[in-house]
Amino acid sequence: MDYLIRFSQSHETFRLPEIQALAVIEGVDLKVVSYSLDPATNTSESPFCIVTLPSEDAAKRLIRRSILVQTIHGLWGSGPTLEDVHASVQFRTPQFWSRYLTCSFKFTLDSYQGSRTSEEKVRLINSFSYLAFAGPIVMKNPDEEFILFEDWPWGSTVQGIKEPKHYYFGRYIATGARDMPKKLDLKKRRYISTTSMDSELALVTANLALAAPGKLMYDPFVGTGSFPIACAQFGALTFGSDIDGRSIRGDSKKNTLRGNFEQYGLLGGLGGMFTADLTNTPIRRKPLGTNSDGVRGRIFDGIVCDPPYGVREGLRVLGVRDPEKTWVTSKGKEMYKLPDFIPPRKPYSFLAMLDDILQFSAQTLVDEGRLSFWMPTANDEDQEIPVPSHPYLETVSVCTQVFNKWSRRLITYRRIPDAQVDQEAMKRWEAEREKLVGKTADELNPFRKAYFNKFEVEN
């Protein structure tokens, strides 16, 4: 049967990837029948999407942890005019009508980007009187709610447009997890930093990475823990590391990463947090194989992160350019043995870091495990940074959040089984990676360079 999804009006390019990921998590057979996204602007004028699902139960499961779905409805009819809606309701659904003859119910009108007078509302709702439901009309918590949706063109009130573009009529089934971002709202979180990912997008990221009970997730740039908290909220066991251990430790009292888990009652989902650098990671890894069993030797079901952009400070990696500099000892004391010791860092490139993340993910994700990470890029096509690739990882989705002069993308990959990997492509990938060694910081960090050039195209 067909179902109507009504999305919340934000993050358009994230919508389909989120419900497609949720279909994987829930094992639901999902087919998208219609959803319009303008490829030029990556925006959608319509928050409505029609999908085919095997059952009402599948519809409930599909959206129960969706951040971007408001509601899902059994689709009874749709069309560009009200007459079309009635014709399709009368053609498709008479066999269902008898089920709702005596229950309490209400009819609602949802006019997206449009408005109707009370008289018009009554007229529209009364046009469905042939359904002949005889139960009591109850406005608060009725047994059933039937909704007529109208999809109006943008600015229709101002332009005096008289009719919506499209109508949908459906029976309410379930609501998404819109309360979850509120629960994890940064404004009410004990301990955050300027780079903490907002709770809505952190939860969407966790969905795309298929975080779920019994799964192991890792964030190698953990900061104050936004992604692990979102993953733990969905029942996963989470791990994280950061090059700056102070972000994990906080004030060592209540304002710590652990304190955040405590605040939400998620301590069971806190696996381990440690100070480390991805280029010298302590996480055990095996060389990439050609026919492994898909799990053994690998650890994680998902890797989620928002790597440092390197705009303000330039990316840094541990090590010194001049090994003669004696920062290791100071006043006869071996500084590096102190627990809070932070070694100096040498410039590290954005592109090399992306390669490190991909290579690390290929080595540590189990088959079908996912990597979801955020990456900035310029809006101008000429300066756009391509989606990085790795022969062991297949791109699942690319979502874009657009700002004024730049955008950030959430890129999701799945770890494919060794046997499906093109080993020749892997050799070429490794050769390309070698070329990155020895280039300058600006060459290696195209985003940083574009940022300092204010995203102007060079002639």
């Binding site: 009970p213 019994g214 799964k215 192991l216 066991l237 791990f239 590391s241 090059i243 251990g245 994990i248 430790r249 060592s252 710590t256 652990r258 301590l267 069971g268 806190l270 696996g271 381990g272 947090m273 440690f274 100070t275 480390a276 650098d277 010298n280 990671t281 302590p282 996480i283 055990r284 799990v295 053994r296 690998r298 650890i299 079901d301 541990l318 090590g319 010194v320 090994p323 920062w327 290791v328 590096y336 043995k337 627990p339 010791f341 932070i342 070694p343 100096p344 189990v366």
Partner: protein, 127 residues
């Protein structure tokens, strides 16, 4: 950090990666704490194939926990063995290393753990 984490961590020094002595790291002067966590058999079954069992046996003994069997249980055996589930749950999911050090058996480098957070950053002569 949970004791489970220890099973995923080896020495960060590049020249140690090829040595089997760099994993597992050996806890030293470890101070343990226990979180009460609800048991999740599904999680333990999922975790089982990702665990290096020989390393876990070493860690368990070094931290003063009961000796684990030579061979890991299969998923079916684990699901049916409530005692084993509970033991692994306590060891892997509830026990936390709060303070102490982790020592590499190959190079001898000691990684400090403070407030449950281990520090794997290396001085430049080891990078």
């Amino acid at each position: 950090m949970k004791v489970l984490t220890l099973n995923f961590l080896s020495c960060a020094v590049k020249t140690c990666k090829s040595s089997s002595d760099s994993f597992p790291l050996h806890p030293k002067e470890a101070e343990l704490a226990k979180d009460d966590v609800e048991i999740n058999p599904q999680l333990l079954v999922n975790v089982l194939p990702r665990i290096d069992w020989a390393a876990l046996r070493t860690t368990s003994t070094e931290l003063g926990f009961p000796t684990l069997p030579d061979q890991p249980p299969t998923a079916e055996e684990l699901e049916a063995d409530e005692k084993m589930l509970q033991e692994l749950h306590t060891l892997l999911m509830e026990m936390q290393i709060v303070e102490g050090k982790l020592v590499c058996g190959h190079c001898g480098h000691e990684y400090a753990i403070r407030e449950g957070i281990a520090n794997f950053l290396l001085p430049s002569h080891l990078v």
